[in-house]
Amino acid sequence: MAALESPPPGTPSAMRHAFGSVLSALILLLIGVLAFSIRLFSVIKYESVIHEFDPYFNYRVTQFLSKNGIYEFWNWFDDRTWYPLGRVIGGTVYPGLTLTAGTIWWVLNSLNIPLSVETVCVFTAPVFSAFASWATYLLTKEVKGSGAGLAAAALLAMVICSIGIRLIFLLVNIMAMTLIGYWMSCTLFSIGVSFSGIFHKCLLIGFQNVSFLSKWLSLQVPSYISRSVAGSYDNEAVAIFALIFTFYLYIKTLNTGSLFYATLNAIAYFYMVCSWGGYTFIINLIPMHVLLCIVTGRYSPRLYIAYAPLVVLGTLLAALVPVVGFNAVLTSEHFASFLVFIIIHVIALVYYIKGILSPKMFKVAVTLVVSIGLVVCFIVVAVLVALVASSPTKGWSGRSLSLLDPTYASKYIPIIASVSEHQPPTWPSYFMDINVLAFLVPAGIVACFSPLSDASSFVVLYIVMSVYFSGVMVRLMLVLAPAACIMSGIALSQAFDVFTASIKYHLSGSSNSKDDAEDKTSTNNASKDDGSAGKTDKGEESAKERSSRKGKKKEREPADKPSVKSKIVKKKALVLPFEASIVALLLLIMLGAFYVIHCVWAAAEAYSAPSIVLTSQSRDGLHVFDDFRESYAWLSHNTDVDDKVASWWDYGYQTTAMANRTVIVDNNTWNNTHIATVGTAMSSPEKAAWEIFNSLDVKYVLVVFGGLIGYPSDDINKFLWMVRIGGGVFPHIKEADYLRDGQYRIDSEATPTMLNCLMYKLSYYRFVETDGKGFDRVRRTEIGKKNFKLTHFDEVFTSHHWMVRIYKLKPQKNRIRGRAKKLKLKTSSSKSAKKNPWI
């Protein structure tokens, strides 16, 4: 936080301001350290590796970028994936993350800090989450200004700091502990002071406590942690920062009406477009807010300045990103912004005319202008509808459609419905991901309505939209998280403000009123009014600070202030009973403490598993399952560099990044038919599968099998999706053939189709040799078919815990001369040399 410009030096208030700014800067710094360090659990517990699946692709792209430079990257055609189609990486990837990490790496290297690309990639997400929490601070500050509640921030954040920091490596530890020590003493000082009556005033000085709270919440909200732990090198890591920062700049522009911020806003939006497909959320949310403002009569020139440049510049900039290109003007996701762009111009015209005409003339003009405006709107709507109706999906992409009509994906697009993060969440997911914030958000919503300003209405809209979308797709919980943090921050801060004010009133009131002869109630009211007036003064003061920062301003302020003051006079404010406020305060602190515990637990246990290295705790100690890397290393050392490896698409990115072998399909699921082909092969009997794979030049088939150690997300558990996706394109694969009475089973009751399909055979080949019975520890049953031989595949590698099994396609058999001749005679004309086997 920038140092606040203080009133004349020497006065007590100047001291308080200085103290306030130092403390805020310190807290901000600590919160940044905390945000960074809470995400390091995975590095401490495992090692500095990249997680999951998608990050491996991003890592590979970053490597390419750092090695070959930006122009090569832009024109990169990758022939290592989607064999034989290949993929144009430069034009199909959101480059924000890669460019960011590439730039960081480049800067560090030019400063002679030789970090490897991998290290930079691993730590990009934690660094950006610190940025994101600062952005949240700024946004909340814009929305709800100063408030009380530093005590809460201090008490609660301290807990998490000490817990979190214990696990961080030494340097940070020492640094942070020193800072915390200082901070603690500051806090204790302020708490100590508070009981001598200055507490409340102290709290109000200069601290943007609402924002601190929300920031503190946001830096550790689990759903965000899940996507930004060290090593989770995914688009969302930088995108959430970009999202919040864009919103902050929008609100800032809305509050100031400065074109400078409007320009910055467009640039932040550009960064967001570069980073994540979720930018459509911004370009729909902001127009909705503008429309809302117009409809509720809140149009102002500031609104125009905040919106119009964003649409013009933002759309132009967005079109520069290759993966978006002309979609920025052609697809329905963006149409809302253009429609609102027209509407805001119509409204602006109305206001302009209203300004230059006399009221009477205006009444005449208004009918004219409004009707013309309506006609124009109708025409534009008609044109848009015609345009949209001419495209088959009505111009919407599958993912967006499944947001609008939640049942769409489950009906028509199995490949979207199959991804676990596209499932609708249940209430436990909310509890897991936003925890106690779920209880605080409604209070935050109410707080935003009293009173409603442009900025607070935006946050309300943000939470409403994001909570709805998160209800459709659990993945969008990520977008909900910052909104929930802001709301809860506002709610908590307001609550703390009220409770501390009540306590302070009682403490100071009891000491004063004893010797006072005045009527108790009048004291009550007076001191209450005093308190509120003091508060208003403070508010005014802090507003003045802001205004003094912005320059001449006091003259305009009275326009707002009288209403505020009159409201205070009108409101015969009550003060909560002393005991009640203490209890409520304690309850809130407990709530916060529970949140801290939950977040640390979530960060440490639930979200820090890299999923490429697995561990399990048993009676005889910790087991580490490093089978994936073992197998990818085997592939890269024992196979030819041009060999093709087939596996289900989940493992595509990892195979190309870690084994450097060509894959058939990968996690960028752009070609459904290709994926369905692999699905069909996996669901077919051995011979048919061999033919399919052979036609794709596949040399090796990789399957992931968890039956031996009980790893549940293996291929057998994903198999029904392979059948569904395969059957969607090749109708001879029918899901019903793999189910016994609608149940998916692999024991002796399983259907013959299931027991003979390639996936079953490759997974359970020789499995009976492990324990003599063939007991599958994931499905908790003995397998149906135990002793069988493979006719078309050779087992070449099985990892230590049997998690990855690699098979080689047997070469085509030599034909027996006589038989071959006979066959030739019989089918001389009909057979071609290599026909397409799966048609």
């Binding site: 400065s258 409604p442 209070a443 009540s502 505020v564």
Partner: protein, 320 residues
């Protein structure tokens, strides 16, 4: 050799036709009677779906020798199951009627006498159900002119064919009978008079609405409406209602072992029941609202509202 068999078969066909000719003439008279009767039944029925009973089945199907001069497509209905929504009988029957009405409306020539839409209800015609070996509903079956054995499954419309409702039913009919159903005429959602009234209302109310909007007096300007809307959406989402809609989750389950015992909470975090979701969603919402009540309604006026910026040109004014 191939040529030889071909010739022989043609010869047989020719002789067979010669002998069959008089019989078929006698038949054709009877046939045209039946057709006339079916047409009259059809014109009497709603949207052209003929209600068949056991007599009708024997009269129009079993007692007529193949090839019959017409095909029948039969919808098997059960009035007492209409209340159970999982069978979708009401919906499918309505779609069936739409196909029938569209077929009659689109075809004028001889085609219209080749296909008749019928329905059989289980309460009055249990014997026919038995005759067609109907075991489960919904069941739609096409009896083509050559079908002798009514239990033959080849005429049965597969589940996939009525999933897509009227359009796919029509496709099925076209595929099997080689007749064209033509475009489906759905009855419009609102009748013409209703549309006229609504447009008139809209036209009248537009000026009033505009006036109200300009004055800022609409419901939209009431904060309480927005507030309750926002809180409702929040409640709706955190209750996992969307999950319940997509997965078609029931409100509660009955215990397998003890049917009188109702299960409200499901022991799996990936799944929830309707009541469970609403209960927890209510809890999530109500706690926050109580906190808001305590801090807003009971207490001191709070000034943490940020306003008062003014408009100025490009650079923030503090930079001057």
């Amino acid at each position: 050799m191939v040529v030889g068999t071909n010739l022989a078969s043609r010869f047989f066909l020719f002789t067979a036709l010669l002998f069959a000719a008089p019989i078929s003439f006698a038949d054709s008279e009877h046939d045209s009677d039946l057709i006339a009767e079916l047409i009259s039944l059809r014109s009497a029925a709603d949207s052209g779906v003929i209600r068949l009973d056991d007599d009708g089945v024997s009269r129009f199907l079993t007692s007529v020798s193949t090839p019959r001069p017409y095909s029948l497509i039969i919808f098997f209905d059960a009035v007492d199951l209409h209340s159970k929504s999982e069978f979708r009988l009401v919906e499918l029957r309505r779609e069936f009627e739409i196909v029938s009405a569209s077929f009659i409306a689109n075809n004028n020539g001889s085609d219209v006498t080749k296909l008749f839409f019928c329905e059989i209800d289980s309460t009055h015609s249990a014997a026919s159900f038995h005759r067609f070996a109907v075991e489960s509903l919904p069941h739609i079956c096409l009896v083509d002119p050559w079908m002798d054995n009514l239990q033959d499954e080849s005429g049965q419309m597969e589940r996939g064919d009525f999933e897509g409702l009227a359009e796919s039913m029509a496709e099925f009919v076209e595929r099997r009978t080689k007749l064209t159903v033509g475009p489906i005429h759905r009855p419009p959602l609102l009748s013409k008079t209703q549309i006229a009234i609504i447009t008139a209302l809209i036209v009248i109310s537009i000026p009033i609405l505009i006036k109200k909007v300009l004055k800022g007096e609409t419901l939209l300007h009431d904060h309480r409406v927005w507030l309750s809307g926002a809180v409702f959406v929040y409640f709706f989402s955190v209750a996992g209602t969307m999950h319940n809609i997509i997965r078609k989750v029931p409100m509660f389950l009955r215990d397998h072992e003890d049917p009188s015992n109702i299960v409200f909470f499901y022991g799996d975090s990936e799944f929830q029941l309707g009541t469970e979701g609403f209960a927890v969603g209510f809890l999530y919402t109500v706690v926050g609202l109580i906190l808001a009540y305590v801090t807003n309604a009971l207490v001191v006026y709070l000034d943490n509202w940020k306003t008062g910026y003014e408009i100025h040109p490009y650079w923030p004014s503090s930079w001057h």
